[in-house]
Structures are given as C-alpha cells and as structure tokens.
C-alpha cells in the first residue's frame, strides 16, 4: 500500500480522500465473506430490509471501532475468539440447511 500512503501524505483534496477510501473499502469488500454472508442471509430471510440494516450497521460499527480504538481493537475483543465463534455459527447455519431432511428422503 505504498502508493496509498504516498497519495494520502501528499494531501490531495477532501473529495479525493473520500473517494479513495470509498473505492478501497468497496473493492476490498466486493465478494468478501461479509458480502457472501449478506447474500445468504437475505436469500434465506423473510425480512431482507432487516438483513440490509443489520449488515450495514455491523460493518460501520466495526470500522468505527477501528478508527476510535486503533491498534487496541484486538485488546478490546480477542479477534481469534470472536472470529472462531462466527465461524462456528456460520458452519452450524450451513450444515442445518444442507443436512438431508426426512421429507427429502421420503421423496427420493
């Protein structure tokens, strides 16, 4: 990210900075796991609006904590445990959906 730090250090205008941070985060998130999770959660939900609001607020809160707490974020919440819990949660959701149901077996 050398080009980025150079660009930022040279103090371009506010709009460029806004656009740059938008583009960086947008491209980083495109097709990333949180967007995949948003696709799956909304495809499976009766309330896609709630999924949209929940996803947005969660992502914005996580980055706000990044800005405010800085490098200390990992001290506030141990990243490995939080991610591990999330991994288990998503795995359980996935297995529950993929597990053959009694009704499926009756049809086959």
């Amino acid at each position: 990210m050398d080009w980025l730090t150079h660009w930022l250090a040279n103090g371009e205008g506010s709009w460029q900075l806004l656009a740059l941070s938008f583009a960086t985060v947008f491209l980083a998130e495109l097709g990333d796991k949180s967007q995949l999770a948003a696709i799956a959660l909304s495809g499976n939900s009766k309330s896609p609006t709630a999924v949209f609001v929940g996803t947005s607020v969660a992502l914005v809160t996580a980055s706000a904590i990044g800005v405010v707490v800085g490098g200390g974020a990992a001290l506030v919440l141990p990243t490995v445990w939080v991610k591990g819990a999330a991994a288990i949660g998503f795995a359980v959701l996935g297995i529950r959906l993929l597990w053959p149901k009694p009704s499926d077996e009756a049809e086959n």
Binding site: M1, L4, L8, S14, L17, L18, S21, T24, V25, F26, A28, E29, D32, K33, S34, Q35, L36, A37, A38, I39, A40, L41, S42, G43, N44, S47, P48, T49, A50, V51, F52, G54, T55, S56, V57, A58, L59, T61, A62, S63, A64, I65, G66, V67, A73, L77, T79, V80, V82, K83, G84, A86, A87, G89, F90, A91, L93, G94, L97, L98
Partner: protein, 138 residues
C-alpha cells in the same frame, strides 16, 4: 361453526367429544383473530430478531478483519480520520446493499430447495474463510 344443539342425542362420552371440539374450534378462531390483530407487532419483532442476528454474525465475522485494519491505517495516515471513515462507511453500506439485492434476486430466480442448498453452501464458504483468516493470523 358446527351446531351440536341440532345433533341427535349421544352417549355422554361422545357429547363430551363434541364440546371439546367446539372449545378447541373457538380457541383456534380466537388465536387466528389475535394473529391478525398483532400482525404489526409480529413484523417488528421479526425485524428486530433478524436485525440482531445479522448484526452479531456480521460484526463477529468482520471484527479485526482486513477492512477494519485498512480503515484504521488510512485514517491514521491521512490525519483526517472521520473523512476516511465516512468514505469507508458509505462503501460498506453500498456493498451490503449489493449483497442483499443479489440475495433477493437469487431467492426469486431459484427454487426453494435449490436456494436452501446454495445458501447452506455459502454459509459453509463463509465459515471456512473465517477459519482460514484465523489460521493465517496466528
């Protein structure tokens, strides 16, 4: 609604049966009425529970992730942290919107059974990707 009064006289056991049916029928009627009345309340509780689960799942998955680190790095470098944060926040809302719209599109195009398998598969991919992150961070 059945009218047990017009029915021919029955042994005691059977008439008890009828009255039980009548009572349970009324109960069903009442409960369906109350569902209609509480439609708004149920919608908002669904919204809140879906919102809460989604928030927890996404927050936990994203905490300490590369996006959070990138925003942190950029805001520290720029000396204008809230401007960087604003750009990042708009981007995050935009990618969420794209994700949710794709999910809706998928739900409309694909049969319910296939959708379940696809969604289940995506959840597993997310879980594996999180485990991958953990192993690479350690």
């Amino acid at each position: 609604m059945p009218q047990p009064i017009l029915d021919p006289p029955k042994p005691i056991g059977e008439s008890t049966q009828v009255s039980t049916n009548l009572v349970s029928g009324q109960a069903a009627q009442i409960s369906s009425n109350s569902t209609d009345n509480n439609q708004g309340a149920e919608d908002s509780s669904t919204f809140l529970s879906v919102f809460g689960t989604t928030f927890l799942a996404i927050f936990a998955a994203e905490f300490g992730d590369k996006t959070q680190l990138a925003v942190l790095l950029m805001s520290a470098e720029s000396q204008r942290p809230w401007l960087v944060f604003s750009g990042a926040a708009i981007a995050l809302v935009a990618t969420s919107l794209v994700g949710v719209l794709l999910g809706r599109l998928l739900a409309k195009r694909v049969s319910e059974k296939l959708l379940e398998k696809l969604v289940g598969g995506i959840f597993l991919v997310v879980a594996i990707s999180l485990l991958w992150d953990i192993l690479h961070a350690a």
